[in-house]
Amino acid sequence: MPSTIKVEIKRQSTPDAPATTEKFEIPYRPGMNITSLLGEIALNPVDVTGKPTTPVTYDSNCLEEICGSCAMLINGKATMACSALVDKLTGPNKDQTITLAPLSKFPVVRDLAVDRSVLFENLKKVKAWVPIDGSYDLGAGPRQHPQIQEQRYPLSNCISCTICMEVCPQFNDATGFVGAATIAQTKLFNMDPSGSVLKEERLRALAGDGGIQECGFAQNCVQACPKQLPLTEAISDMGRDVFIQQVKDFFTR
C-alpha cells in the first residue's frame, strides 16, 4: 500500500481569477477523510514539486455530516467532504489520484468554497416556517399522531448542502428552478398542523417559471442526497398540490 495519497485540487484565488489545478502528495494515515487531508495541506502547504503554496479554502464546520457546509466535487461526484473517506476513494490498489473541485452550479468564492445563499433565499420565498403568534407561553402545541412525525422528520433532516441542486440537470440559470430542497421544505411545513395556514401561499410560490414544473424527473436528487430525503416523493406530492391550487385559483381568483 502506498504511503502517500495523491490529490489534485482545482483552485481559484478569487471569483474572477482563472482556475488552476494543484497537485499534492499527502502522507497516508488510516481513517483519513477529505477534510483531514485538507488539514494536512494547511499544516504543510507545499505542492508535489515542493513549491510553497497556500492552504486550501473550503467550507467546513461540524465534520460529522450534519451542518451541510463541506459539499464539493470529489472524484467528480457531489459529496460531503467530511464523510468522504480516503480509503474508499483511491481505487482497488489504493493508488489512484483523488480529485477535488468546487460545486459547479454555484459561484466560486475561492478554491472549494462556493456561494450557496440562493437556497436560503428560496426558503424565504416559500415561507418555510410556522407563523407562530409569538414566543410567549401559549401552552402546548396541537397533538400530532406519530405517523405525521414519521413523515415530517425525514424532510426536516435536510442539511441545506445543495447537493440535490448541484446534480439536477434542470437547476441552471435558464430555468431558475428552485430545486428539490426547497420543495421538500414546502411539504414539511404544509404538513405541520399550524404551518399549513400558509399552505396556499407556499404552493403559489412554487407555481410558474422556476417553480415545481421545471422538474424533469431525472431523479438525480434523491440518489445523491447524503441524508436520504424522500425528495422525489415530496416533488410528486407538491406537484399535485400546486396543480390543484392552480385550478382552484383559476376559478376563484
Binding site: 484565488s13 494515515r29 502547504p45 464546520n61 451542518c67 467530511c82 410556522v130 406519530p146
Partner: protein
C-alpha cells in the same frame, strides 16, 4: 437613547437565535453576526434531546426535581437562582418549540414522547430522533428567517467578531468585525451586544465541537476586561468515536434507550464482541452504580471508563476503547437513534445495529465561560452573553440535554434585558471609541500580514491541543498543569514569529484562523491556571492528589481577568439560597 435601539447578536446557534427572536418580537432591530450561515452553527450537532419536567410519563417528575438534579449534577457550583428559573421555564420552552413545528417524537396519543438521560431517574428529555439539536436550530432559524424577511433582522453571515467597541466609560458601543470574504475589517454601532459564540473545543485540538468553536470571541472580550468564570470546568463526554480529525459524539441517548457499556472480563479475550457470552462481559457502570447504571452523569461515566482502560488495563485489545452496545435493543428503540447510528456507520464502517460500537471519552462541553449576572450581563456594561459562551447554569458538570434548554433560556433572558438596557442608555460621547478600536484591530491584522517568521499556525494549534488534552481533561495533576501553562507561554512566544503562507486579502481562512489562535492560547492559560488553583475534585474537575470536594475553600466561582498579559484570579461566593450543598454520590443501590 434613540427610540429604536440597535442590538448586535454575535453567534447564530440556539442562544443567539433565541435572543434575536425576543428582540425582534419586542420591536427592536437586530444585526446578527455569524462566521457560518446560522443554519450551520454548532447547535446542529446536539443529538439526544432537551430536558423539561413536563411529567408526561406519570412518574411524578417536577421542575423542582429537575432543579435539584441539575444543581446536584453540577456538584453545587452553579448559582442556584438562574438554574431554578431555567428549570421552571423548561415546560413552556418545549411547548413553544413544539408550536414552531419541531418534529418531536410522539406517543400514540399524539403527545410528546420523553426519554431518560444521565443524572436523573425520570424520563424528562424530549427528542426528535437523535438529531434534536438540528431540529431545534432549524426551528429557530426558520423563525429568524421570517423576521428577516419582515426587515427586523439583518444577517451578517460570514463575518467574524473581533472585539467590542468600548467608550471612555467602558460601556459597549458596538463591535469590530471582519468580513471573511473581502477581509474588510470595520466597526458596527450598537447600544448593546449579546455574545452567543458557544464553547471552546478547538483549544483542545480534537473534540466533539465544530470547527468554529474556538472560544475566540469570549477570549477577545476577556482580554478587553470581561471576567471569564469557571474556565477549568471542561466536560469530557464518555462516549465519542475517536477520529483522525475530530471526536464524533455518540449521544447519551444511546444509553437512554438502553445501550450498555462493557469490556471483556478477560483482557486477553480475543473473540469478536458478539461471540463473547454475557457471563464474560464486565458491565462496569452497572456494577459500580447500580441505581443509575449506564446513566450516571458524564463526569462519573468518563472517569469510570478512564479507570477501566488505564488503571485496570482492560481496554478492548489493549486500546483506549470500550464497547457501547446497542445490539440487544428492539427495532423501535434502534429507530429512535438512527441519526447517530448513521454517523457511526459512515465514519467507522461497522453497523452498530449488529456490532457493538467502540468508543472513548472526548472533550465535549465548556461549562465555564463569560461571567454574567442573573440578567446575562457581563461585567462590561452593554455586553451580554448566553448559551455555552457564558458560565451560568451547569456548575462543575452539565447534565445531558440541559444544554439546549440553557441556550434557549439564556437567549430569552439576554434579549429583553439587552433591549431594556439599550433603551436607557445615554447617547455616546464623541465617536464612542469606534475609531480607536478599529485602529487597534487593523494594527493586529497588519502585524500578522507583515510577519516574516517561520512558525506555522496550524502546528502551534496542534501542540496547544496536545498539551491541553494531556494535562487539562479527565485527570489533572498540578505538575502537569504547570507544564501546560509553560507550554502555552512558549507557544505565545513562538506566535510572535508566525509565518502566514497566505497573505492575500480574499477569503483567507488561515489568516482568520491565526487571529483566533492567539485568543485560543490566551484562553488556554485561563483553563490550566484555573485548574491549577483549584486543589479539590468537583464535577468534571478531578485531581487524584485532592480527590474530595472542599466546600470550605472552593465552593466558589473562579473569575479570571486579563492583567499584565496574563490571567489574574479572584473567587466569588456561589448562590446556594435554595438547596443546601450535600455530598454528591451516584453509587447508591436504591
Amino acid at each position: 437613547m434613540a427610540a429604536s435601539p440597535r442590538i448586535i447578536v454575535v453567534g447564530g446557534g440556539l442562544a443567539g437565535l433565541s435572543a434575536v427572536i425576543k428582540i425582534a418580537e419586542a420591536g427592536g432591530t437586530v444585526d446578527l453576526f455569524s462566521i457560518v450561515p446560522v443554519k450551520r452553527s454548532h447547535s446542529v450537532c446536539a443529538q439526544g434531546g432537551i430536558n423539561a419536567a413536563k411529567d408526561l410519563k406519570g412518574e411524578g417528575d417536577s421542575v423542582l426535581k429537575h432543579f435539584d438534579d441539575t444543581i446536584y449534577g453540577g456538584d453545587f457550583l452553579a448559582n442556584q437562582t438562574p438554574v431554578k428559573a431555567m428549570t421552571a421555564q423548561g415546560p413552556a420552552i418545549i411547548d413553544l418549540l413544539d408550536r414552531m413545528g419541531v418534529p418531536f417524537n410522539r406517543t400514540p396519543e399524539g403527545l410528546l414522547d420523553f426519554r431518560r438521560f444521565g443524572g436523573t431517574l425520570y424520563q424528562r428529555t424530549a427528542f426528535a430522533g437523535a438529531t434534536t439539536g438540528q431540529q431545534l436550530l432549524y426551528a429557530l432559524d426558520e423563525q429568524v428567517r421570517r423576521h428577516e424577511s419582515e426587515g427586523k433582522v439583518t444577517k451578517y453571515e460570514g463575518w467574524e467578531f473581533l472585539s467590542a467597541v468600548l467608550d471612555s466609560k467602558g460601556a459597549c458601543r458596538g463591535i469590530v468585525a471582519m468580513d471573511l470574504r473581502t477581509m474588510e475589517t470595520r466597526t458596527f454601532p450598537a447600544d448593546a451586544i449579546i455574545v452567543c459564540t458557544g464553547g471552546n473545543g478547538a483549544i483542545f485540538g480534537k473534540s466533539t465541537n465544530s470547527v468554529v468553536c474556538t472560544g475566540s470571541a469570549q477570549s477577545a472580550l476577556y482580554q478587553q476586561g470581561a471576567f471569564y468564570a469557571n474556565g477549568e470546568f471542561i466536560q469530557v463526554h464518555p462516549t465519542a468515536i475517536p477520529g483522525e480529525d475530530k471526536l464524533r459524539l455518540m449521544s447519551e441517548s444511546a444509553r437512554g434507550e438502553g445501550g450498555r457499556v462493557w469490556v471483556p472480563r478477560d483482557k486477553n479475550d480475543k473473540r469478536v464482541a458478539n461471540s463473547i457470552p454475557e457471563s464474560d462481559r464486565w458491565y462496569f457502570l452497572e456494577e459500580w452504580y447500580p441505581k443509575y447504571g449506564n446513566l450516571v452523569p458524564r463526569d462519573v461515566a468518563t472517569r469510570a471508563i478512564f479507570k477501566v482502560v488505564y488503571e485496570h488495563g482492560m481496554g478492548i485489545d489493549g486500546q483506549p476503547m470500550v464497547y457501547l452496545d446497542l445490539t440487544h435493543l428492539p427495532p423501535e428503540r434502534i429507530h429512535k437513534l438512527e441519526g447517530i447510528l448513521e454517523i457511526y456507520e459512515k465514519f467507522v464502517g461497522d453497523d452498530p445495529r449488529k456490532v457493538p460500537m467502540k468508543i472513548f471519552p472526548g472533550m465535549h462541553y465548556t461549562m465555564g465561560g463569560l461571567w454574567v449576572d442573573f440578567n446575562q450581563q457581563t461585567n462590561i456594561p452593554g455586553v451580554y452573553a448566553a448559551g455555552e459562551a457564558d458560565y451560568s447554569i451547569h456548575g462543575a458538570n452539565r447534565l445531558g440535554a440541559n444544554s439546549l434548554l440553557s441556550c434557549i433560556y439564556g437567549g430569552f433572558v439576554a434579549g429583553p434585558q439587552a433591549l431594556a438596557y439599550a433603551k436607557a442608555l445615554p447617547a455616546q460621547q464623541g465617536d464612542g471609541g469606534h475609531a480607536a478600536e478599529l485602529q487597534r484591530q487593523k494594527e493586529l491584522n497588519n502585524q500578522l500580514l507583515s510577519s516574516t517568521g517561520t512558525e506555522n499556525p496550524f502546528k502551534i494549534w496542534r501542540e496547544l491541543g496536545d498539551t491541553m488534552t494531556k494535562h487539562a481533561t479527565i485527570i489533572r495533576y498540578n505538575a502537569g498543569l504547570d507544564e501546560a501553562d509553560a507550554k502555552i507561554v512558549e507557544l505565545l512566544d513562538r506566535y510572535k514569529n508566525i509565518n502566514l503562507s497566505d497573505k492575500s486579502q480574499w477569503a483567507n481562512t488561515s489568516f482568520a484562523f491565526t487571529r483566533q489562535l492567539k485568543n485560543m492560547l490566551e484562553l488556554g492559560r485561563v483553563i490550566v491556571q484555573g485548574a491549577r488553583l483549584r486543589d479539590e475534585s468537583r464535577g468534571a474537575h478531578y485531581k487524584p492528589d485532592f480527590p474530595e470536594r472542599n466546600d470550605e475553600k472552593f465552593l466558589k466561582t473562579t473569575k479570571a481577568s486579563f492583567k499584565d498579559n496574563a490571567p489574574a484570579f479572584e473567587f466569588e461566593e456561589v448562590d446556594i439560597s435554595h438547596i443546601k450543598p450535600r455530598p454528591r454520590s451516584y453509587t447508591a443501590t436504591a
